[in-house]
């Protein structure tokens, strides 16, 4: 069932954070508080980009203790399909927009005696919200934040003020590197690890956690895959008895929605599993981009996550 609850909001501010990142503030039209949320939650922003409706997930960075507005920071991606470009170029103060209710796929384990956080670049945003929550409950945490250079290190000065010595910043251009092996081998028992950043950083942290014997249940990551652009293809929806075209800059899920077919979704970033769809016939290659499917499901071409994955070949039939 895909009838996700949505909120009508107004853009109350657009702030340039640095040369790549803008921050967007959303309020309710009547100024009343937005729904409470938990640190690590994201919202899906609906964008009416010409004839296309794009829905893209962004982590909430504002304090869960203050929901007079929601804030997200968006890094411009010049190579993407256009979601971040739309936000950077088209969205202005005062514009009405629609967003989904907050949903959390990157929740803190509230039992942990210590939270160890690794952020890379724009991956800092969910930690900002979590830190506000941890400060309120006197939680024990430590944040290691790496950015390309000082200019692109968003929110470093705010964080220094907020959490002082619990912040450790690393700049690539100064050859500063997070010493994962040292950190992962010197934590108190029961610590939980959280990582959000570029895919190679997440992979590296998970690999090092495994090497140091960390239990899987104590390692948490969030990475929203992006639906990459690609060659257009034809898709058959067997249950709806429709043939549809998936455009170059369109995801399968967006094409399914544009055809008026109701399809479930939650994160739209290949992470939550909500849009998992059975593949009935596949004459060609599925280009899986998600973090959800198991390896055997991927190689057998029986399942696909239409929010991020694509197809190359002659014929693809989905049970939708």
């Amino acid at each position: 069932m895909s009838s996700n609850a949505t909120l009508d909001v107004v853009v109350s501010d657009v702030v340039t954070v640095n040369s790549l990142i803008k921050r967007f503030h959303f309020v309710r039209p009547d100024g009343s508080p937005l729904p409470a949320f938990s640190g690590g939650a994201h919202i899906v922003i609906e964008m009416q980009d010409g004839d296309t409706i794009r829905r893209t997930p962004y982590s909430l960075m504002s304090s869960p203790l203050n929901t007079t507005d929601y804030q997200v920071s968006i890094r411009r991606d010049d190579e993407g399909r256009g979601g971040s470009l739309y936000m950077h170029q088209q969205v202005t103060k005062g514009m009405p927009m629609r967003i989904g209710y907050p949903a959390n796929l990157f929740s803190l384990d509230k039992r942990a005696p210590k939270q160890l956080m690794f952020a890379g670049g724009i991956g800092i945003t969910p930690f900002l919200a979590q830190i506000h929550q941890l400060l309120k409950t006197n939680g024990n945490f430590e944040l290691h934040y790496s950015a390309r250079n000082e200019k692109l290190g968003a929110y470093v000065s705010e964080l220094k003020q907020l959490i002082g010595h619990r912040l450790h910043v690393y700049y690539d251009d100064q050859d500063q590197r997070i010493d994962f092996d040292n950190l992962l081998s010197t934590q108190p028992a029961g610590t939980h690890v959280y990582v959000c950043g570029p895919a190679p950083m997440i992979d590296h942290v998970l690999t090092r956690c495994k090497a140091h014997g960390w239990p899987k249940a104590h390692t948490h990551f969030e990475h929203f895959a992006k639906a990459p652009p690609g060659e257009p293809f034809t898709l058959e929806l067997r249950a709806s008895n429709k043939f549809i075209e998936v455009g170059e800059n369109q995801s399968m899920l967006e094409a399914i929605e544009a055809a008026g077919v109701d399809a479930p979704y939650l994160c739209r970033g290949g992470a939550c599993g909500h849009c998992e769809t059975d593949v009935l016939e596949c004459d060609g290659t599925l280009l899986h981009e998600d973090h959800w499917l198991e390896d055997d499901e991927r190689t057998s071409s029986r399942k696909v996550m239409p929010c991020v994955s694509r197809f190359k070949g002659q014929r693809l039939v989905l049970d939708r």
Partner: protein
């Protein structure tokens, strides 16, 4: 306050000893009858909890009915005897505040004549007129309430409440207020995960029901609650059929006779709903119990007919698990007078 409790339509009645509990005819008609066809099998029978069908128990997101005050008095008695019916592990405090907020706002919005909530930042003022409660407190500060937030508000809300923490791709029974249960124990299940606390259920594991149900529950979002119905049968309108008190109610299972079955045997319906809690990301799982005696059922011809057919065709494993073996045939024999063999209409609602 302007309205005194005795002006309100709440019954003085008991769920134990003399069992004076009784449904008014209107309350019978609004019950969430659990069978949408003439047979029953386990299924992932989830649907969105937001249709608000007038004149039914689904009309309000959190239903309050004529039994409210009596049910809360019964809960207080259970807690006096056995405080472990309420438990909350230390990491569930935030989920308790989430629950308090959800129940207070739902009730104040749906029933402004009975409940009111005034918020000024974190300074909240809660009035519960049926129970004579007028409470100022600071949201988030446990020292300003007579109980922890979860216990405080669930002493004022009908039905049981499980609070499930979500982690490790699973749900964990880490807090709850359980006094109106169909033979399960929070003290036994506390800290268990979804598969562990469902382990005793027959047939459903083999059908993959719980794997699918967990997958569904984990995707429940804020603003989009879901629900399902479950059922069993109970001798006497006894809310507290707990394992802890089996020695009290267990023997009553053999007390049903053809003469007393109409008024002594009850269909026990559970309206289960599922809510994503905003600050804690936990899931709130209220289990609200509705009783219909066999005589209550007979006032709705479609329901009596269908109950007859469901009991006749129920798989024996399910009948045993639900504890119906001692009286199932007696109930079938009594209900037979309401089943002339003609087809019933689709769906659960009365014709």
């Amino acid at each position: 306050m302007a309205t005194s409790a005795k002006d309100l339509p709440f019954k003085q009645e008991t769920y134990r000893n003399d069992f004076t509990f009784k449904n008014s005819p209107e309350t019978v008609l609004r019950a969430p009858f659990p069978f949408d066809k003439d047979s029953y099998m386990y299924a992932v029978n989830m649907e969105l909890h937001r249709d608000g069908r007038p004149g039914t128990a689904f009309e309000a997101p959190i239903d309050v009915d004529e039994h409210y005050v009596a049910e809360m008095q019964d809960r207080a008695l259970v807690l006096d005897e056995d405080p472990l019916r309420y438990q909350s592990l230390p990491h569930m405090s935030l989920a308790g505040w989430d629950t308090l907020e959800l129940l207070m706002t739902c009730k104040a919005e749906t029933y402004p004549q009975w409940f009111s909530l005034t918020r000024n930042g974190d300074n909240w003022h809660w009035i519960n007129r049926p129970m004579g409660i007028d409470q100022h407190f600071v949201f988030g500060d446990e020292s300003t309430l007579p109980y922890g937030p979860l216990e405080y508000i669930t002493r004022q809300a009908q039905g049981d409440f499980c609070v499930l923490d979500e982690r490790d791709d699973n749900l964990w029974m880490d807090a709850g207020m359980i006094t109106t249960q169909a033979d399960w124990s929070l003290d036994f299940d506390i800290g268990m995960n979804f598969f562990e606390w469902h382990a005793p259920v027959p047939l459903a594991h083999e059908k993959g029901i719980f794997i699918r149900a967990l997958k569904y529950l984990r995707t429940i979002q804020q603003g989009n609650p879901a629900r399902r119905l479950n059922w069993t049968m109970t001798v006497n309108p006894r809310l507290d059929t707990s394992p802890e008190n089996f020695h009290i109610w267990g023997p009553e299972n053999t007390h049903i006779t053809p003469e007393n079955v109409a008024d002594k045997l009850y269909l026990r319906i559970e309206l289960q709903s599922f809510w994503r809690l905003p600050r804690s990301n936990a899931l709130l799982f209220p289990i609200r119990c509705y009783f219909l005696s066999m005589r209550d059922l007979s006032t709705v011809p479609k329901w009596a007919t269908r109950m007859h057919r469901v009991l006749q065709t129920l798989p024996p494993e399910i009948a045993s698990y639900k504890g119906l073996d001692n009286y199932r045939q007696i109930a079938i024999d009594w209900l037979a007078q309401h089943d002339d063999g003609s087809p019933t209409t689709e769906g659960p609602f009365p014709d």
